[in-house]
């Protein structure tokens, strides 16, 4: 790691996929494993151009199953490794992610959501929320950051690696096709510049010394023989996850203090929500916006605090109730009326939100 890919801080104008590649470089990622899928392809395109310059590696695998499992292998061997995918690729990666949950493999997966179900579109959506938070045969022991701008894409990609390695849970950066493909400005920086220390990695297998002679071997497994044994393992995982949760939940409040109407939205829809709130306020409507940044763990207390004061809630998402389910579970017991503004697979603008709120 001789030359730092980013010296100091600088303002740039690029696509979100390029941002991810730079963030991974800045986060001292050693290796990316991946399989092409729109709209995340350019993460790989940039990475393959940049990586060799900084002595980082890349492997294009035969499918997303392999991308997920090679990433597990890379991490197990002690390297900072990630992968990126979308849509059906994300579906396929769930198998490896359940292994990562069970064996606590701190990998990072970037998801640029596209339309679903099935192949659907290559463009945009927020329909991979449930899957990214809870996919596979497991209990969702993952960390999921939902970003809404290029700046966040940069910041949270770096953070995802740090959080993953600090707490040893797989971490996800949940973007979307818009973020992937659009260009906007942001500041990229050397994390050290901001006092961000890159968490050290360490090997789970392939340690020094001869096992059985100098040390015990590391024997890692994900299979157990009895229900009782498994139950203990899962309870332990859950306990550690829940212990971590309060330390890492993130959220944002916009004018929620005195808000009658609170729009709940995540990811890029937060931009429309923020703008809508502004317009509505200008028109004398006391609107506010709550935004979970971590979808897993979910900012339960924080949203409850906001909800308690509101008269009406609106869940706005480019999906059919995936965010809603996270919300209703988090705020069970509250009784503020809750409306849904669903647009599966399609973008949401401030204008429509304003119109919708006014039409309520």
């Amino acid at each position: 790691m001789a030359v730092k890919p980013i010296q100091g801080e600088k303002r740039v104008f690029m696509t979100g996929n390029e941002v991810v590649a730079w963030a991974a470089l800045a986060a001292e990622v050693d290796i990316m494993y991946g399989y092409p899928i729109t709209p995340q392809n350019e993460v790989m395109h940039y990475w393959t151009r940049l990586a060799p310059k900084y002595d980082r590696k890349f492997l294009q695998t035969e499918d997303e199953i392999s991308a997920g499992f090679t990433t597990c292998g890379g991490v197990l061997s002690g390297k900072r490794a990630f992968t990126a995918t979308a849509g059906p690729g994300n579906t396929l990666m769930q198998e490896a992610m359940t292994m990562a949950e069970m064996m606590r493999i701190p990998l990072v997966q970037v998801v640029q959501q596209r339309g679903g179900p099935s192949t659907a579109t290559v463009i945009y959506s927020q329909q991979e929320v449930t899957m990214t938070c809870y996919g596979g045969n497991g209990e969702g022991l993952r960390i999921v950051y939902s970003t809404g701008s290029h700046q966040e894409l940069f910041d949270y990609t770096i953070k995802a690696f740090n959080i993953a390695w600090k707490y040893r849970f797989p971490a996800f950066v949940l973007g979307d096709g818009y973020q992937a493909k659009m260009r906007e400005s942001l500041n990229i920086y050397d994390p050290a510049e901001k006092g961000i220390e890159i968490v050290k990695t360490y090997p789970f297998v392939g340690l020094e010394g001869t096992p059985g002679v100098d040390r015990e071997p590391n024997h890692l497994r994900n299979t157990y023989n009895t229900e009782e044994e498994l139950n203990l393992v899962v309870n332990e995982l859950v306990a550690e996850y829940e212990k971590m949760a309060p330390e890492i939940v993130e959220y944002q409040n916009f004018n929620t203090d005195d808000a009658d109407i609170v729009i709940i939205a995540h990811g890029i829809v937060t931009r429309a929500a923020q703008a809508a709130v502004k317009t509505l306020r200008e028109q004398g409507i006391k609107a506010g916006h709550f935004r979970p940044v971590t979808l897993r763990p979910f900012p339960e207390e924080q949203i409850r605090a906001v909800v308690k004061k509101a008269k009406k809630l609106i869940v706005a998402e480019s999906a059919q109730g995936q965010l809603r389910k996270l919300v209703t579970d988090a705020i069970y017991g509250e009784s503020v009326p809750l409306e849904n503004y669903y647009k599966p697979g399609q973008g949401i603008t401030a204008e429509e939100l304003v119109e919708y709120v006014k039409g309520l």
Partner: protein, 85 residues
Amino acid sequence: MPTKIAYRMNKIDTKRALFTIFTGLCKGCGLCIQKCPANTLIWSDELGVYGTPAVQPKDAEGCTGCGMCSIVCPDCAITIERKKM
């Protein structure tokens, strides 16, 4: 670090070799019996690790100490020490 593990065993001194059956390892599969070129292995009264009979040379004569049984045992339950003649 390297712990000493002791398995239940039974040493059988035959004419040409010291035949050791680790009953704590033998699962009674019988693969060795089939492969013994001298055809000298039989089921033993000693029980192996799964409570099934282990093996033993039928007498002190047959075993040539060739070690074939040891090679084919998937559990490494037989150790043969050939005697210097």
